[in-house]
Symmetry: C2
Subunit: 274 residues, 2 copies
Amino acid sequence: MYNINLLFCCNPTEQTGVDTHLQIFGIKLPLVQPGDDLVSLTIESSKRSGTQILDRDILVFSAKVVGVSQGRLLELSKISPSEKAKALATLYNLDPSFTEVVLREADAVLGGVEYALLTIKKNVVIANAGVDQSNAPLGYVALWPEDPQRSAEDLRGRFRENGLDVAVLITDSRTLPMRMGNSSVALGVSGFRPIEDLRGRKDLYGRAMRVKRLAVADNIASAAQLVMGETSEQTPVAVVRGAPVQYGEGFRIDEAIIPMNECLIMHIVGKRPL
Amino acid sequence: MYNINLLFCCNPTEQTGVDTHLQIFGIKLPLVQPGDDLVSLTIESSKRSGTQILDRDILVFSAKVVGVSQGRLLELSKISPSEKAKALATLYNLDPSFTEVVLREADAVLGGVEYALLTIKKNVVIANAGVDQSNAPLGYVALWPEDPQRSAEDLRGRFRENGLDVAVLITDSRTLPMRMGNSSVALGVSGFRPIEDLRGRKDLYGRAMRVKRLAVADNIASAAQLVMGETSEQTPVAVVRGAPVQYGEGFRIDEAIIPMNECLIMHIVGKRPL
């Protein structure tokens, strides 16, 4: 019921029953190499499986597979760790060269736990600045695309060239406050609005909402993570169909970001409890 | 490919194409009142719409609708705000009686921004301790179920009495670090494991994962939020079908929680950057 047309064409309080039907498909790809055309691989793989990609589908790509296709790989044996990287590596049980890459990639390092540094990169709270060994060729680490927002737009353009009017989301897994497991965060978006603004909408009793916005892109990223493999499943792409998003041009992930000093959690935590 | 049987019955590297097919339906309910039987209402509403609930579906309920059905409503005019509540209400532009209820419900108050206090309740980082005016009767606020984990188990038992072997998840919306919109968090789970533990699994190149766990329950909560209304949509229930979860008995939300002093984000943030 988020689509603007739907909001005007029906009154949701008049009926009961099923409202929205959303579908998510995982797309298994062959092993992706630097220089591979991800869009062709995705279209071919989906056709082979009998599930065509349709206009208005949202195609979700892991930052890892996009980075690898762009050749964003570094050979760890060629990296000279700085003294700072060596010290942090000792402190948090990390490889010194890996730690050096994280320091180069991160906009800020906030601290660490065993095997991970907590960093800020492009205003996203993320472990190890998105640098990751898993599913990179042995001896290498994979980096985020240089500009995930631009990559989302480029991938969408390539689908258009193939006759498909889809939206694109680029995602990475992320740590959540006080939760054991990783969820997923949206890094780049093209073709739909990443935030749903509910301010001013009325609740069941006619009360106007004052603050509520929904992290639609992050929710789609997290939903897609349910079908995207993190180990050897080779499923770095998901198709999300029927999501109640606002399609359109010019939307960017920037809209979904709050700077650190304005964030309810990051601004407050660490101060003394009241 | 998370299902244990699937892990043994096929080699995911041998094929390309669509892997998992996940479906999410929103269920529109009539206006829920204290004392209403949520399970009967959900089953009736789903039948009326022609979409039957099936065994192994995951039924996602908002904490709000579960709390309301349990009569967890407070009339604000009957609440006397303390001096502390009045001071915080002035500071953050909140109603003093509402603030008093938040103080009573929260295990810890970490700070605030306009219209919201950041709190910890049952080891969940949440705005206003889950106390909410929206979609509560006018003059009232709705609280979380007293024990969301127990409520998930009770609801699942009631579905069983109706011949349906489903899993149940109870969710609320939550604030995310440095993100503009709310996502969703799992508060109680029954019938599937809330965390997917990937430690020891091999990646594409045979490398064993060291730290990775996935927040499966939170991801399902966030996926369901895409179809569940926050304003007047009257869609407080979602059916998630085909999610690759580990079904079973005895799983509890506790497994998904990290105490504050062990959390990568909450433990570190506020300390000096390195």
